[in-house]
Amino acid sequence: MPNQANTSDIQFRQASVEYNFGFLDEYAKKEVRRSVLKAIAIPGYQVPYSSREMPMGRGFGTGGLQLTLSLIGKQDTLKVIDQGSDDSVNAVNLRSFIEMTCPGIDTTTKVSEANLIQSRHRIPEQALREDQVLVLQVPYPDALVVVEPSEDKRKIMHGEADYSRLLVKLYEDIVKFDEITISHRYPTRINRHYVIDSSPIPRWDVPKMNDSRALILLGAGREKKIYAVPPYTLAEPLEFDDVPFRVESFDDETDKRRTCHRCGCDHSFLDEFVDAISGEKLYQCSDSDYCDEQLKARSVKQGLEG
């Protein structure tokens, strides 16, 4: 069951009757919706839209938020994640704003219960379903910005699928460091044409975009762009034959896979932190819902065994 606690504690957040359901007026929603359809029809192409100012900072997920608010209705169940966690301050902030402006919707922390998921920096570990839509918040939508500052020129390069300068940049990286140094926002080619900035998801999450069962929508509010990775669509990280794309390694010095200190999981993206008391370096699942599920599964298993 979804958690039933309510947000009345946040005193300053009372929805004003002046605001429409979903905060945006219906015209603003229609524009976002039209852009979403274009984005789906041209996978990976950044559709410009007017992007309204939202009552939170540009850079705090206003692009994702406008997508969510344009899609959501009273029958929907929403999950909001930041850094893999539903409880991170920004996730809480966005969720409470959506709850306030969309009376009647349900929210949840469980991936399995949500049909609409808005996330910053992570794609859930649990594979998504066809009936789910993932909305990612994007600060920099254009993978070409590292080689070309002018948007006008980048649009031409994208149209021609001319990514030679980006590949040269990756190649120079290899020459200099023996390794592709791009850590997140990994340039990923969609449907063999457009290269997208995969939003600041870690490389770990990039393969989840490929042939996904769920529709993935990406929204950049400040840069005023919407793009999409439709379901069952090729999403290939840029790589060279001899230097393949690699996800983050969580192996220790002895090449043994580190595990989550909480749930024992050995196949999830881990956050590393230092225990305040022992000074010991600890690892924990970044995806808090997945960690909870693994923990529950483990205790059920132990219960059965014991």
Partner: protein, 374 residues
């Protein structure tokens, strides 16, 4: 029924908001809350700036925005802009003619004698910037007496409401190109409804600059003034006043005046250019206008308008002539939002950064055995 999911993070946010609210009210028992009229009048320039950067002429809400944001200009403009963005566009005014402005100040730097004369109005241009210590402990009586005395000594009806425009005189002399009637007929670009996809029309550039952040637009215009550009502007006319706003009647379609907005308008005359078509050379023009009384912004805008027209025509030769560079970096709401966002958690991306660095370091160590960094 809506179920909600929430845990500890919400408490932190709520606590931070409450603490900020305490900061706003901490002055103590003797304090009076700021009233909105006081903000509009005694913080006149701040108030003007917020309406202009917020892109909404709403004096009362602008005051409220200043009050609730504790005077932070970026935050106050942001609140006003966010409010504006929820409002549908119901009707459009026709292009308004600023010669009908009820002028409270107008000056020209190009001519000593301009038709109608110079009118200095309220200005600090020639004030000595000395600390006015007599205001340290100003009594309400003294405060009220100043305004009463001024009203007593000055008669409002001495001054005409409207003035002819300086540019019209220059135009009559053939020093300026004729008004581009075709451009006036074109539907202006609405930046609140359409994204900027470059190249953009001049009307898109003008409206982006009209709600830009004052410091940002000044900085880029200043780069042009100092030498990263060479438009050599002369202020033909700078005017501040109240512009009547006309809207079509919902049923009859007849134009009716619905109110007036305080505006600052600046027209600069810049050096002439070679005419490719062999026509008679004339001065060129730059235009700036914004809500409220904000002269630095209007002048900066007029200079950049001229610089951008050059860049649009011949390709930019410096940053202030590059429409992308100028228009995408002068919005205070965009830039402050993105600046602020760096305070948010970036644990996951930083984890990923560390992974790359460690891998690169390992490879470096493999290649350079012995050259330890211990």
């Amino acid at each position: 029924m809506g179920y909600v999911a929430i845990k500890g993070g919400g408490k932190a946010i709520s606590g931070a908001e409450k603490l900020l609210e305490f900061v706003r009210t901490r002055q103590g028992q003797s304090a009076e809350p700021l009233d909105l009229d006081t903000i509009e009048n005694q913080l006149y320039f701040l108030h003007s700036r917020i309406m202009s950067e917020g892109g909404l002429f709403h004096p009362k809400l602008a005051s409220l925005a200043i009050k609730q944001s504790l005077g932070d200009t970026l935050e106050a403009s942001f609140a006003l802009r966010a409010y504006r963005s929820t409002k549908p566009r119901l009707v459009e005014s026709p292009v308004l003619d600023t010669s009908s402005m009820r002028v409270i100040r107008r000056i020209s730097a190009s001519f000593k004698d301009i038709p109608g004369g110079q009118m200095l109005g309220a200005s600090s241009d020639y004030a000595l910037r000395l600390m006015r210590t007599e205001l340290l402990d100003e009594s309400p009586e003294a405060f009220k007496a100043v305004a009463a005395k001024w009203l007593d000594e000055n008669r409002h009806d001495d001054i005409p409401d409207t003035f002819p425009k300086v540019l019209d005189a220059l135009r009559e002399e053939g020093l300026l190109p004729p008004v581009d009637e075709a451009a006036a007929e074109k539907k202006p670009f609405d930046i609140t409804r359409e994204p900027l996809v470059f190249p953009v029309p001049r009307s898109a550039a003008l409206s982006t600059m009209a709600r830009s952040e004052t410091g940002s637009i000044l900085a880029i215009a200043y780069s042009n003034m100092r030498g990263y550009g060479d438009i050599h502007p002369t202020v033909a006319e700078l005017r501040v006043g109240y512009l009547p706003v006309m809207l079509p009647h919902p049923i009859t379609g007849e134009l009716i005046e619905v109110g007036e907005v305080l505006m600052t308008e600046c027209e600069v005359v810049a050096m002439y250019e070679d005419e490719e078509d062999g026509g008679k050379p004339t001065f060129s023009l730059g235009y700036g206008a914004c809500f409220g009384h904000n002269e630095v912004k209007a002048i900066s805008m007029s200079i950049l308008d001229r610089a951008l027209q050059s860049g649009m025509k011949n390709g930019p030769t410096n940053p202030s002539e590059d429409p992308e560079f100028v228009l995408l970096h002068i919005d205070g709401i965009d830039s402050m939002g993105f600046c602020t966002h760096y305070k948010m958690p970036h644990y996951v991306t930083f984890q990923s950064d560390m992974d790359r660095l460690r891998t690169t370091q390992d490879k470096h160590d493999d290649k350079n055995p012995g050259a330890d960094n211990a």
